[in-house]
């Protein structure tokens, strides 16, 4: 299973996040929120300074691009737990 993170942050900001946190998985930039909008995950004026951002969401997508597991939090402080994500990936055969 390959984790991929997506936000509206430009690549430079994502790079500093990856450097600081030591992430080695791909972090993708969607500065115009095109994909975020396409997936209906846009949070209008959601950032502290009022920019449009993505609402937190996690999807497990199989090799034929079919969604196999999702997690949509209702509270920005509560995100998918690593255990749950790994368990969902293990169930794929």
């Amino acid at each position: 299973m390959r984790p991929v993170a997506i936000s509206v942050d430009p690549p430079e900001v994502s790079r500093s996040l990856a450097n600081k946190a030591g992430y080695t998985f791909p972090i993708l930039s969607d500065p115009d929120a095109a994909v975020i909008r396409q997936y209906h995950l846009l949070h209008l004026a959601g950032s502290p300074d009022g920019h449009d951002i993505a609402r937190p969401a996690e999807f497990l997508v199989d090799s034929s691009r079919v969604v196999r597991w999702t997690n949509f939090t209702e509270d920005i402080r509560v995100r998918a737990r690593a255990d749950d994500m790994l368990a969902s990936a293990r169930q794929l055969r």
Partner: protein, 152 residues
């Protein structure tokens, strides 16, 4: 503390503050396991209500029956602190849940459209590429797409 007038101690504001701290603590324990997540806001709310009842009782005693109870200033100070703390916590609770609905988002079983976005080095990567084998690593069984609010 000396108590020459023979006044009784007014412990209600202290209980109020204690329940307020409990309410805030429950609110802060959001990282606990998921089954508790649903119960915590209710526990928090109940403790906040208890806190307010004790604070009102404390103020009633201190201000309404000054000949029986002491601690007029203290009960006012404790009440203001507790109510401010509960108010801020309630505000944080409401703002953390101001999220748009996910009803229209892709659901389990749906095939999602491909996309192509820049990675941290500015290189374009498509979902198809992410699902395919790359030099040095076999094709993953799945890709976990993590949409996040951003880094600030």
């Amino acid at each position: 503390m000396p108590n020459p007038a023979g006044h009784r101690r007014n412990l209600a504001p202290w209980w109020g503050l204690l329940f307020a701290i409990g309410a805030i603590g429950c609110h802060g324990a959001f990282f606990l396991s998921s089954p508790l997540q649903g119960a915590l806001p209710w526990l928090s709310l109940s403790l906040a209500v208890l806190a307010l009842i004790f604070l009102v009782a404390g103020l009633w005693r201190a201000l309404g029956q000054p000949q029986v109870y002491r601690g007029k200033a203290l009960s006012v100070v404790l009440s203001v602190i507790a109510v401010l703390a509960i108010g801020l916590t309630a505000f944080a609770f409401v703002s953390a849940r101001k999220l748009p609905s996910s009803i229209a988002a892709p659901q389990v079983g749906q095939r999602i459209p491909d996309f192509s976005l820049s990675d941290t080095s500015g290189k374009r990567l498509s979902l198809g590429q992410l699902l395919a084998a790359s030099p040095g690593s076999p094709a993953p069984k799945a890709v976990l797409l993590i949409f996040y609010r951003g880094y600030w």
